[in-house]
Subunit: 490 residues, 2 copies
């Protein structure tokens, strides 16, 4: 049932109370909680899998995979905070004899920002929803979390929320350090973002939705950061030599990336850019063949399916658009039918609509007459989560200047690979310049996602006993610290 505005208010007050004790828990205690969340999610067993399958139309293997990713990131953050070096501790010891002025003892570390509101994502019922990356990283940072369940999978969300609450009790966490609310319309979400106790927001979804929350958060009397991961068409640039020699392999790789999960990934390769010629012809032929064989898939919910059909219809009426291949089997209105179209670069450059995300198993090939035109297309591109270049090694080296531009437009550069398949690891950056996200300085995936929910605080002239353990002179936690200009551990 939808939360009332009174319930939103109460939830934030409870979260603030929880914050004042939760923030001071040791990394070890928070790790116990995060590990217990992973355990409790696994304990849900088949019920969670069946419920998520029913609500999202995703196949069993995908849900099981996503569950593994979810418990995986909970345990990854547990390990991170138990080890403790993530707080980026800096220690500058006193120099009482310094001239002209003595220097006092100054130390700094990251501290949690306060209650965080997380919006469940439609396309990741587990890994980017209730116990998703935003929730896990915020809890790891020391922030209470209020999840607004995605209405399209509210039963799944309820199950996971109960698992988290069980873990909360089992590990003796402060009450209400995790809370779960429902809200079908905009009211609950808006009230959550506007509440004075809310200090940050995590969101994965549409550009319209993310931008609305961003604007709302900035218009508050006290503006707060919104980490919205929104819109990306993940251009894949095919270099000529590779196109001539490896076009079959590339086409197969692309077809699988385009159709995977009915194309419902933020890293779906929605744009393919190449110079016209025999190679591109052959690639399109092979890609068409693969797309024809691909099956339509039921999309996450009817709204997403309707939007896909609307956007496809709209795209196909644009000037210069040519259908290159579509799945032979027609789906019903709940399904996304794989489709690849092409457009000459000049038409693409004139038409902003063609550079906007079509969420589903669709990709647009931009045909350039030469490398100069390909450069224009890339130069005109907006911010992306990823950009990929497919080319032979020497060829990529020859076109190094392309990388110099692409790096300005994306958060992750890939050579000879597709953007789908986001590895969860310290070196991952899942983010990118606007409109890919609202804050390109932070990642939503990997250990560094924790940085979204902290801020630095300096402790000046503190007696040792009043310093947090992370900053105490003896370094009792044996963490890495930057001390008087040197990295030291223990």
């Amino acid at each position: 049932m939808d939360a009332t505005l009174q319930e939103v208010n109460t939830a934030l007050h409870e979260a603030q109370v929880a914050f004042l004790s939760y923030k001071n828990l040791s990394g070890k205690k928070k790790a116990e909680f995060l590990n217990a969340i992973a355990d409790e999610i696994e304990t849900l067993g088949q019920e969670l899998v069946s419920t998520a399958m029913r609500e999202t139309n995703l196949p069993e293997a995908r849900i099981i995979g996503e569950r593994g990713r979810t418990t995986g990131h909970c345990r990854m953050f547990a390990k991170l905070v138990e080890e403790g070096s993530w707080v980026d501790a800096r220690v500058d010891t006193a120099q009482p004899d310094r001239q002209p002025l003595p220097k006092v003892d100054i130390r700094k570390m990251s501290v949690p920002v306060g209650p965080v509101v997380v919006f469940g994502a439609a396309n990741f019922p587990l890994a980017y929803s209730t116990a998703g990356g935003d929730t896990a990283s915020a809890l790891a940072a020391g922030c209470p979390v209020i999840v607004k369940a995605h209405p399209a999978h509210s039963d799944t969300s309820d199950l996971v929320a109960k698992a988290i609450q069980k873990a909360m009790k089992k590990t003796g966490m402060p009450n209400n350090v995790f809370q779960h609310l429902h809200g079908k319309g905009f009211e609950v979400g808006q009230a959550l973002v506007k509440h004075p106790h809310t200090k940050a927001v995590g969101f994965t979804g549409s550009l319209v939705g993310g931008k609305a929350l961003f604007d709302l958060a900035n218009q508050r009397p006290e503006p707060i950061p919104v980490f919205a991961e929104m819109s990306s068409i993940n251009p894949v640039i095919l270099l000529p030599e590779s196109l001539a020699k490896d076009c079959d392999k590339t086409a197969t790789l692309l077809a699988s990336s385009i159709t995977q999960g009915v194309g419902q990934f933020c890293t779906n390769p929605g744009l393919i850019i190449a110079v016209e010629g025999e190679g591109l012809k052959n690639l399109i032929a092979k890609l068409t063949e693969e797309i024809k064989k691909a099956l339509p898939g039921t999309m996450l919910h009817q709204g997403i399916a309707d939007n896909y059909h609307k956007r496809i219809a709209q795209t196909l009426t644009q000037q210069g658009i040519k259908i290159e291949g579509e799945a032979s089997e027609k789906g019903d209105t709940s399904q996304g039918q794989p489709l690849v179209a092409s457009v000459p670069a000049p038409e693409f450059l004139k038409n902003h609509l063609l550079a906007e995300e079509v969420f589903g198993p669709f990709s647009l090939i931009v045909k350039c007459k030469d490398l100069a035109e390909l450069h224009s297309v890339i130069n005109n591109g907006k911010g992306q989560l990823t950009s990929s270049v497919i080319g032979r090694d020497e060829e990529v080296t020859k076109h190094k200047n392309l990388l110099n531009i692409l790096i300005e437009k994306a958060g992750r550069l890939i050579i000879n690979g597709v953007p789908t398949g986001v590895e969860v690891c310290p070196s991952m950056n899942h983010g990118g310049p606007y409109p890919a996200t609202t804050d390109s300085r932070f990642t939503a995936v990997g250990t560094d996602a924790i940085k979204r929910f902290v801020r630095p605080v300096t402790f000046q002239n503190f007696p040792d006993s009043l310093l947090p353990d992370e900053l105490k002179e003896s370094n009792p936690l044996k963490i890495w610290r930057y001390r008087d200009g040197e990295w030291l551990k223990g």
Copy 2:
């Protein structure tokens, strides 16, 4: 002369061209540039000192000190980027045999965001203006800088700009990696912030000015971050026992912090909070004595002096306000006369105006009837750059719960010290929750200030030769990197 909108546009286009080569320079090359800036500023000699004195009314010792701080931070950032570990490199090597899916090689580092616009600050003609902390950290990060000179010290700004441009030529930097524009009204600043090539903004000044730039930047088609350091009254909490025993020492310390530089510091202690009693009476008596002896000082410019007088007059008419002490010598209209007033806590809590910054040598003592009331005052406080607690060690320990609240309201906590005197070092955080700044996650002082002007980028499956040196397998720069879960150097 004020820049035209055409000149702003040209400047940003030049900055973008400069960016595409400057961003790829080695740390060593950027360090040469930053060191040369420091040298050229020193070469300006007495002319710079006299010009800054004439334009800002600040005394010679202060200008010389500020020059030292300015050349100091240029050299500090030079050292930082020459060493190179600041890019926060992360390396996860490939695991081709991993099950169920192989893992490709993934590496990540910070890269510069693009052209940065810096607004000169009225109160730091050198250290937070043309070659100030924002400029030095942005150049260190690899971002071209366009400075809009503060109109109150445009000659000083011109001199420093010429020094930077000389350093730019001497060290073979790309043309226009640093540019300097004038603009007395709002037009030039607004056009700079709105230009699509601008990727971040640094500002130090009023809440009204900073908030206006923040809103403008968020309303752009592509929102960009604004690092505005705006408004702080830096509460100092005096604990009872210390107040009883050390009140003379504390009063002297406070008086000097309040009156230093005619109170024109963002870290001026504008609020003193204590419980009523004999101790506070004695402290006020001693503080009054010190303030009476203090001399009025000519303020930075007439606008600041006018505003100080207006705000003082406004404050003194508020309910419950009592003047405790003011400088015996009356100044003229260009001067700021030191003044300390007091107010009972209930009146303070009712009146938002009293919690707003009065920029100048003024401080307000909030008299609380007991510790509970003192807690209310602290709980109601807004974001600050700093909060200080003055108390004997055991006493501070006893009031540890105060620190638990204060940490939510400030970027720096000080025990037994005053907020003025911001050490430039890795552990410094000069920032804080809104309205102290527009982004509490970043510092404007110290080595970490460089983080404001970078974003992470992941390099996936790159051939070694195409990786930046920071990420190459052999670690040719011998920097600290987080590699497969371990911090390693070289």
